[in-house]
């Protein structure tokens, strides 16, 4: 939902200049979300007689959201405002969407889309980490990677490897990372998590890999 925002960094120089980009692109994203919701609820029954159908309320609120989004865009065109505080979240967004598509995808088409999103995300991530805005790229990217690593490994590999890897990946999110400290600290934290969640409050987690198979590895759920 954020891609259109990135276009803004280059856009203002040529042609139409938007005086308050923070409002304008914020409103635009809401409008797009509203249309997405309208599209997603297109098959749902609306009013029949005096009673609401399942689709009535979603369409109602989606329409209100679109109107509000347009109003916010209008404010963005009519007022002077500060520039958008800089941020860089295109790579993490693509990678997360890729995971969600892959996990829920039953058709080949969806899996191809997922692969494309993943490739796009990885390329953007690498470019971002080599580019001038790498400090902005770093935080959201590695936090996302940490979450993805945990999600993908918790079921096949168990809590211990999953948390250890996820903590190490998360630690890379700051340029101040100290690697040796991180490796030790991750082990300490993992042990703490096991003690607290498994022995302390008895959550039914498996700790180590058991019956690894391609099926569990690829289910992603």
């Amino acid at each position: 939902m954020s891609q259109e925002v990135h276009a803004s960094s280059g856009a203002p120089q040529r042609g139409l200049k938007i005086s308050n980009p923070r409002e304008f692109y914020g409103g635009l994203a809401l409008v797009l979300l509203g249309f997405l919701a309208l599209w997603a609820s297109r098959d749902l029954a609306g009013m029949h007689g005096i009673s609401f159908g399942p689709g009535t309320a979603p369409r109602m609120f989606a329409s209100i959201l679109i109107v509000l989004g347009v109003a916010i865009m209008a404010v963005g065109c009519l007022t002077e405002g500060v520039a958008v505080e800089r941020y860089e979240i295109s790579a993490p967004t693509l990678i997360i969407l890729a995971y969600m598509f892959a996990a829920s995808g039953r058709t080949t088409l969806i899996l191809i889309v997922a692969a494309a999103l993943l490739v796009g995300g990885v390329i953007l991530a690498i470019l971002g980490m080599m580019g001038p805005r790498r400090t902005l790229v770093r935080g959201p990217l590695f936090i996302t990677l940490s979450i993805i690593v945990f999600a993908a490994t918790i079921r096949p590999f168990g809590l211990v490897p999953a948390s250890y890897l996820a903590i190490v990946a998360a630690a890379a999110a700051t340029p101040e990372v100290r690697w040796i400290e991180t490796l030790i600290w991750s082990a300490v934290l993992t042990a703490f998590c096991v003690l607290l969640f498994v022995y302390g409050i008895n959550l039914p987690f498996q700790l180590w890999p058991t019956n690894l198979s391609w099926e569990t590895l690829l289910s992603l759920r």
Partner: protein
């Protein structure tokens, strides 16, 4: 009156069982521990610690959560005073005078007066909650779907009026929250709505996912942008006890803060943040020498600290009696109750009196615990502040991930939490406030259900909301509030309060 007394006895009977006292203590301790950590407010703290209450019986779980809430609240004021970093937004005002006191070597009295003020406010507001609960519950029983709908609209309007910044954007956030809450199965027909045929979405989006993503992960992403500055503790903690003069100077402030906080807490959309701001501003107005404020006036600590604690407590009233969460923290409590199979509302008091009164009694016990445990443990909290952020945030990330996974054993949910993290980060960058969105998200299903029922009862005539007297009054109030919020004069005043 006798009934109130009997109810409180019942409540204390439940809350004082050794097991529940222990849970209350653990909750308050852990809540303070996490609340002291910079960048983690009560919302993130409760969302993060929610999973550790899953294995408990409902009463115990709610008592512990309430303890976590007060602890987080109090932890925030400790950091405000000692290192000028408000742990959460309701203690922002405390930094103004509290940290000045610490710089003058009076950190001890500042911490003590914050604890005493909070405790006093806690005592008073516990009684307020107990006294108002029964009458309000009987009013709630008169409510039909139309009234409920109007009341929720009023609550959402309050949230808009009290939100920072643009009114338009706050409304947009509420609508977005409502829309998100509609993902999943339709309540009446079971039709799958906006779920894109994804199995994980067919039950709707879990509110913990939204809360943890938007308040946990997004917050970390923001914190990582800044160069980390190590907290400098100015305090030399010598005498903790305030002098007689301090006590005398702050007693009025504590009383006024408690009063203001109790009232503002009940109002939907209100809550601790606005209460603290209001109490500070009020105290400055009535002071004989306003220039002392901002330079270490003890009233400037006593008033907002009493107010935010009183408000934190009385904001349970609309939740427990009407089943409507007045702010985002209470929205989280609704979610917690639902997980334990309790649907908040007037029926809780009649059907599960031990849960209801036990929770109210534990509020008081929780406040007592805070005074007892916090003053001796201040030294430990200070040391905690020296843990560098680079070690802290991976821990938060992994706790959130394990917490989300433990709800449904679903890896998909963890990734979705990550998505909400990115979305929350984007929202903040575009100056959208996420709290109204969460409130809309939690109220969404109730709002829609009551809207549909009301329309059905009225045979499809929307004028039912303005022809039924109670509903009409609530709607009129909402309209007036919204009009006031848009008026430029009030708006500038409102901004002023927040800037201060």
């Amino acid at each position: 009156m006798i009934e109130l007394f009997n109810n409180l006895v019942l409540g204390f009977g439940v809350a004082l069982s050794p097991w529940n006292v222990l849970l209350c203590l653990i909750g308050a301790l852990v809540g303070t521990l996490v609340g002291v950590l910079p960048g983690l407010g009560p919302l993130a703290t409760i969302a993060m610690l929610l999973p550790i209450t899953f294995g408990l019986p409902p009463v115990g779980a709610l008592i512990m959560l309430a303890g976590i809430y007060y602890g987080a609240q109090y932890g925030g004021s400790t950091t405000s005073i000692l290192v000028n970093i408000p742990g959460e937004s309701s203690s922002v005002v405390t930094t103004l005078d509290g940290h000045q006191m610490a710089r003058q070597g009076r950190a001890g009295p500042a911490l003590a007066i914050a604890a005493i003020g909070s405790f006093f406010a806690g005592c008073v507001s516990t009684v307020v909650v107990a006294a108002l609960a029964a009458p309000l519950t009987s009013i709630a029983l008169l409510f039909g779907p139309a009234e409920y709908f109007s009341l929720m609209v009023l609550g959402l309007v309050f949230a808009v009026v009290l939100a920072r910044g643009s009114v338009l954007k706050a409304i947009a956030m509420i609508i977005l929250g409502l829309l998100l809450s509609m993902v999943g199965s339709d309540i009446e027909t079971g039709a799958s709505r906006m779920a894109f045929d994804v199995t994980e979405l067919s039950d709707g989006i879990g509110f913990v996912l939204v809360a943890m993503g938007v308040f946990g992960y997004a917050e970390i992403m923001r914190n990582l942008e800044q160069e980390s500055s190590q907290a400098i503790v100015h305090a030399k903690l010598t005498g903790l006890m305030p002098t007689w003069i301090d006590l005398k100077a702050s007693s009025g402030a504590i009383l006024r803060g408690t009063g203001l906080g109790s009232i503002l807490g009940i109002l939907p959309g209100g809550g601790a943040v606005i209460a603290a701001f209001a109490a500070y501003t009020f105290e400055k107005k009535v002071s004989r020498d306003p220039s002392r404020f901002g330079r270490g006036a003890i009233e400037g600590v006593a008033a907002p600290e009493s107010a935010n604690n009183a408000a934190a407590q009385t904001s349970f009233i609309p939740l427990l009696t009407l089943g409507i969460p007045p702010n985002a923290v209470m929205a989280l409590m609704v979610g917690a109750m639902m997980i334990h199979g309790i649907v908040p509302g007037p029926q809780v008091m009649t059907k599960q009196p031990e849960l209801f009164w036990g929770m109210i009694a534990s509020m008081w016990i929780g406040n007592l615990m805070l005074v007892i445990i916090n003053l001796p443990l201040v030294g430990i909290w200070v040391r905690l502040l020296r843990v560098p952020y680079r070690m802290l945030f991976p821990a938060i990330i992994i706790f959130c991930a394990i917490g989300v996974y433990s709800i449904n054993n679903s890896a998909f949910d963890i990734v979705m939490t990550g998505l909400f993290g990115v979305v929350g980060y984007w929202l903040v960058k575009h100056d959208f406030e996420p709290a109204p969105m969460l409130l809309g998200f939690v109220l969404g299903p109730m709002l829609e259900e009551n809207l549909r029922r009301a329309m059905l009862i009225a045979r499809g005539d929307p004028s039912t909301f303005v022809t039924r007297p109670i509903s009409a009054a609530l709607m009129a109030l909402a309209a007036i509030l919204l009009a006031l919020a848009v008026l430029p004069m009030i708006r500038s005043r409102r901004d002023e309060v927040f800037v201060e």
